[in-house]
Amino acid sequence: MKDVRTLLASLNGKKIAAKREPDQKFEARNSSPLCQCQCRR
């Protein structure tokens, strides 16, 4: 069991805090997010 926050802190990039969150209006209620797991992952 490992700490998820430590894992995320190890990622590369500038990690500039976004002043906005991803806009939820862009996710329709009946759109299953595609990932490889529906993979859509």
């Binding site: 500038k14 806009d23 997010p33 990932c35 993979c39 992952r41």
Partner: protein
């Protein structure tokens, strides 16, 4: 409770990782950390409680995943339970090998499964078996044919890594001839290994941008799942894929719209974060939360919020000016465990508005 923190998030999708074991050994499996360990199974009474919990949360889409979920003996019963509870979209993500037994496919259809989502690495046997590291192709192809022959929705997942990228276009043409409804092509993303994130078998993000350009010319049943910055796709194929509703993007972690439960009953940010829990849903074998209690925890828990904050970031100064960031979030965060975003993120799509892209996606899902 601080009311200002109590933002209700509409959880649309739930994943249940019913096991960690698999009869394949795929090189870029996102659970490769489990490949060397004894397989684990979710206790049945926990899985049953989870399905009921998803029903109570009014989740739209429930996805059974692993491991290899078809190795879970009571999978059909869980699908049936979810169907009877009113969950509208039910998916099993599988390597498809067990579907080579037609009766099993028929049982899942009878239970109410909507979507057979089958992972295959190639239309070429030797490539698939090389990546799977077991001779699996014949069973998987047999399984695909069985699902198609029964007239059920069949979607293939082709994850592209260094071992199949050069043959993918030819491979897709072979797979389309099987008569499947859809083929989702995505990049092999870095994943959790023994010592943190590893990109050993991941595809260079730029290579996937170039592949997406070629896919734009193929049959419209082939869609691109771009878990990478959208700006990696050149402008012309990007616009074409969008206008044809053939482009998936983004990460649900920053939104909180997806609820992934690991084999031990703990909530993880997504399936790629195996054994990195945020919340334990169970105590002494019983669910700790009512749906309303969980919605509050989901909106206010410090660990969950810190994970969202860590994902909702611009990985480059360019992203500050990019309206499309609200769609792609710079892609899957795991990518940046092995690659440097400054080498990839560019200003090629800065003049395109998210709303202009979204109108096509919205039309797709709400015709």
């Amino acid at each position: 409770m601080n009311p200002s923190d109590d933002r209700i998030i509409d959880i649309t999708t739930g994943w249940i990782n019913v096991n960690t074991g698999c009869n394949n050994r795929c090189k870029w499996c996102y659970r490769q950390v489990d490949l060397a360990t004894n397989s684990q199974e979710m206790l049945l009474h926990m899985a049953e409680q989870l399905v009921d919990f998803f029903i109570a949360l009014d989740i739209y889409s429930c996805i059974f995943i692993g491991g290899e979920p078809t190795l879970y003996k009571k999978l059909t019963d869980l699908v049936s339970q979810a169907k009877k509870g009113g969950i509208k979209e039910l998916t099993v993500v599988s390597n498809g090998r067990k579907y080579s037994k037609k009766e099993y496919v028929q049982d899942l259809i009878a239970a109410g499964l909507n979507n057979f989502s089958i992972s295959i690495h190639s239309g070429f046997q030797y490539i698939h078996d090389l990546i799977s590291r077991v001779p699996a192709w014949e069973q998987t192809i047999g399984g695909i044919k069985n699902v198609v022959s029964l007239g059920h929705f069949c979607s293939l997942n082709v994850v592209v890594g260094p071992g199949n990228v050069t043959s993918t276009i030819d491979s897709l043409k072979i797979l389309l001839d099987l008569g499947v409804d859809k083929i989702i092509v995505s990049a092999a993303i870095p994943c959790v290994g023994e010592n943190g994130i590893t990109g050993e078998y991941a595809l260079d993000p730029q290579d996937f941008g170039e592949l997406a350009t070629q896919i734009a010319d193929l049959d419209e049943r082939v869609v691109v799942l771009h878990e990478l910055p959208l700006c990696l796709i050149p402008r012309e194929p990007f616009v074409r894929l969008v206008e044809q509703n053939r482009l998936g993007f983004g990460c649900h972690v920053g939104l909180g719209r997806g609820l992934s439960v690991d084999v031990d009953g703990k909530v993880i940010p997504c399936n790629s974060f195996a054994h990195h829990p945020m919340i334990d849903l169970f105590q002494d074998g019983k669910l700790r939360f009512s749906p309303d209690e969980f919605r509050h925890v989901w909106a206010t828990d410090e660990t969950v919020k810190s994970v969202r904050d860590a994902v909702n970031v611009y990985r480059s100064e360019i992203c500050k000016e990019c309206d499309l960031w609200s769609l792609c979030n710079c892609g899957c965060p795991m990518t940046w465990g092995a690659f440097n975003p400054e080498d990839y993120i560019n200003d090629g799509l800065l003049d395109i508005k998210a709303e202009d892209v979204y109108q096509y996606t919205n039309k797709k899902y709400n015709p």
